[in-house]
């Protein structure tokens, strides 16, 4: 059973989606480690190391995602899990922005997959299965 670390990054307290994601991924057969809201990059990385996770799934709802996610890939590399899959989704920037550009920004930061607003977790299950090789 593959392990996925989930949580909500930064000063963000949106907890509903997080609880639904935990429920959905668990139902889909994954070992879910939920570090909850108000989590730092370090919280995610430490949890991933401790649980030997294959994927870190970052939620950001409140708009500060861009600031909060900067340098996360570098921190993963420093921590020795440079190759780990990094997803981000929710409402990751402030306001209604052109998503092509937003996606590029986060891809450039080293995220593996970047999701537009309103993508329910169910729609990402296919990607997860693919990336985790199942």
């Amino acid at each position: 059973m593959k392990t996925i670390v989930i949580g909500v990054i930064g000063a963000d307290v949106h907890a509903v989606g997080n609880k639904i994601i935990e429920y959905t991924l668990t139902n889909a057969g994954y070992n879910v480690v939920n570090i909850g809201v108000l989590s730092t990059q370090e919280d995610f990385i430490n949890a991933a190391i401790e649980t030997d996770a294959s994927l870190i799934l970052v939620s950001s709802l409140y708009g500060h995602g861009e600031i909060d996610c900067r340098g996360m890939r570098e921190k993963c590399i420093e921590a020795g899990i440079g190759e780990i899959l990094l997803y981000v989704g929710g409402n990751i920037v402030v306001g209604k922005q052109d998503f092509i550009q937003v996606k590029q920004t986060f891809m450039d930061m080293g995220f593996t997959r970047v999701y537009p607003p309103g993508t329910p977790i169910d729609n990402a299950l296919k990607d997860i299965r693919e990336d985790l090789g199942e």
């Binding site: 307290v13 500060h64 861009e66 600031i67 920037v93 306001g95 607003p117």
Partner: protein
């Protein structure tokens, strides 16, 4: 920590105040001198006073509109508010960014500066503390209606000092409602103490003849919160505020979606707030209500979002709430543009005007639901009172710790997080899993039966899946998350 529901003595208040003002550089502004502030507040004209405008609206039976809005840069923020005022907003907000809400002024400063230099908002609100009194006054002076700070801050003491000294005559929040949905590990004792301070500040001004409105945040997590739970929190925050000398309070409620339940919730909220304030000896109180348009996940389609905004406004108008907080057609995507926000205001305003002279006809169903909510609230209030040995502050902390009161989907560790809500066959919000919630068996039986009826109709087991389906349903255009047929 020695928490009590007792008015903070003035000397102690002034002592704490020094610390508070020292916590960030803008706290040292001479305009924060209390005599200065009183003078400035007295110069704010009546039509820009939140409390007075609310009282007038209530007297005339009107429902007034207030959007949410806040951007980091001063000039843009002013432009935004002016635009919303022109769109018909009766009250203006200044929504505060999330770093400020966590007292992370350094990051707020960084975000503010970057927003200026990159000419693009990097903060999700207006960092009022970093802006300081002068800028906040500029905001007020640029518009013609009252302004309120809207945030979600467990420790809003410095923020409250700054905004009130700048003439903003309303402050949203409360020790419970700005902790449980907005924080993870801030102890409830701490946030309640902090908000006793914010209330005491308002009480201080009251004593000097200045009317300031306070507004506990009713919707909590905005997600399937049963009315009796949020109403109970509202009443307790009203009691705590009244103890600190607050006189003008607007208790709030976030729309659930069923017309009858929503109207019943506002009605019972108003009645019971007054009932408890009277019972516990707080006199001369001015109570009004605020209805929040749908607070859960919004549909993506903008026409659908405007429809939801309009429906919410219809319910609000029929409930006769004094204030209505509007949303925008961008809600599900991100902070709205000025224009999108204005569309929400216009649609809302149109509806409340259409319904101004109409009342929700008294019906058996409405009476019944009012009675049910009141019964549940009385039950929870009794439990909390006992848990605190007659002290509401102690009681609510203890009740949360024991899960006697419990808010669904809340991030806070002070919250048990054991109850699960779901809709019944009419779309009313009920409870399917009670955890340790302080309900009598009779009330539990009522909820259970309602949920059972729904599960039966849908031919499925009672489980968390009902809750999950209901979390999504409105954003998908249905009130009840029934399985597809």
């Amino acid at each position: 920590m020695d928490l009590r529901n007792k008015r903070i003595p003035e000397d102690e208040f002034l002592r704490i105040r020094k610390e508070v003002l020292n916590s960030w550089v803008t706290g040292n502004d001479p305009q924060l001198d209390l005599e200065e502030a009183v003078k400035y507040l007295k110069s704010v004209p009546e039509h820009k006073n939140f409390a007075i405008k609310l009282n007038k609206a209530k007297e005339r039976g009107l429902t007034l509109i207030q959007p949410r809005a806040g951007v980091p840069v001063l000039e843009s923020h002013i432009k935004l508010l002016q635009y919303l005022q022109e769109s018909g907003a009766d009250f203006l907000p200044s929504t505060i960014d999330s770093y400020t809400r966590q007292n992370r002024y350094v990051e707020a400063q960084k975000g503010l500066e970057e927003s200026v230099s990159r000419n693009r908002a990097l903060l999700n609100g207006f960092p009022a503390v970093n802006h300081g009194v002068t800028n906040c006054k500029q905001v007020l002076e640029a518009v013609d209606v009252p302004i309120e700070a809207r945030h979600g801050t467990p420790d809003a003491r410095l923020l409250s000092e700054i905004i009130h000294a700048a003439g903003w005559t309303s402050n949203e929040g409360g020790g419970i409602s700005y902790n449980i949905p907005y924080a993870k590990s801030v102890p409830l004792e701490v946030s309640i103490k902090n908000w006793q301070y914010c209330d005491r500040l308002v009480g201080y001004y009251e004593e000097r003849g200045i009317r300031i409105n306070r507004e506990p945040f009713g919707p909590l997590t905005g997600t399937l919160v049963p009315p009796s739970i949020s109403n109970t929190v509202m009443i307790i925050e009203a009691l705590l505020a009244a103890e600190q000398g607050v006189k003008n309070i607007t208790v709030g409620y976030g729309m659930g979606g069923n017309l009858v339940q929503d109207v019943a919730a506002i009605n019972s909220l108003y009645d019971q707030t007054i009932e408890y304030l009277n019972k516990f000896g707080y006199t001369g109180m001015e109570i009004s209500t605020v209805f929040h348009q749908w607070m859960g996940g919004f549909p993506q389609d903008e026409a659908e979002a405007l429809a939801l905004i309009s429906y919410s406004s219809t319910v609000a108008a029929l409930s006769k709430a004094t204030k209505l907080i509007s949303k925008s057609p961008h809600e599900s995507v991100g902070i709205p543009t000025m224009e999108a926000n204005g569309l929400g205001v216009k649609a809302s305003k149109f509806i409340v005007n259409m319904l101004k002279d109409q009342n929700m006809a008294e019906s058996y169903a409405l009476k019944e639901e009012i009675a049910q909510i009141k019964k549940e609230v009385h039950c929870l209030m009794d439990v909390i009172y006992k848990a605190g040995d007659g002290d509401w502050a102690v009681g609510i902390v203890s009740a949360f710790r024991q899960g006697l009161i419990d808010v669904p989907f809340a991030p806070s560790k002070c919250n048990a997080g054991k109850i699960l809500p779901a809709r019944d066959n009419d779309g009313m919000i009920r409870i399917l899993e009670f955890g340790n919630l302080g309900f009598t068996d009779e009330i539990k039986e009522f909820h259970h039966k309602k949920i059972e009826q729904r599960a039966k109709l849908e031919n499925r087991e009672i489980s968390f899946q009902l809750t999950v389906d209901d979390v999504y349903s409105v954003s998908k255009g249905k009130l009840i998350g029934r399985p597809q047929v």
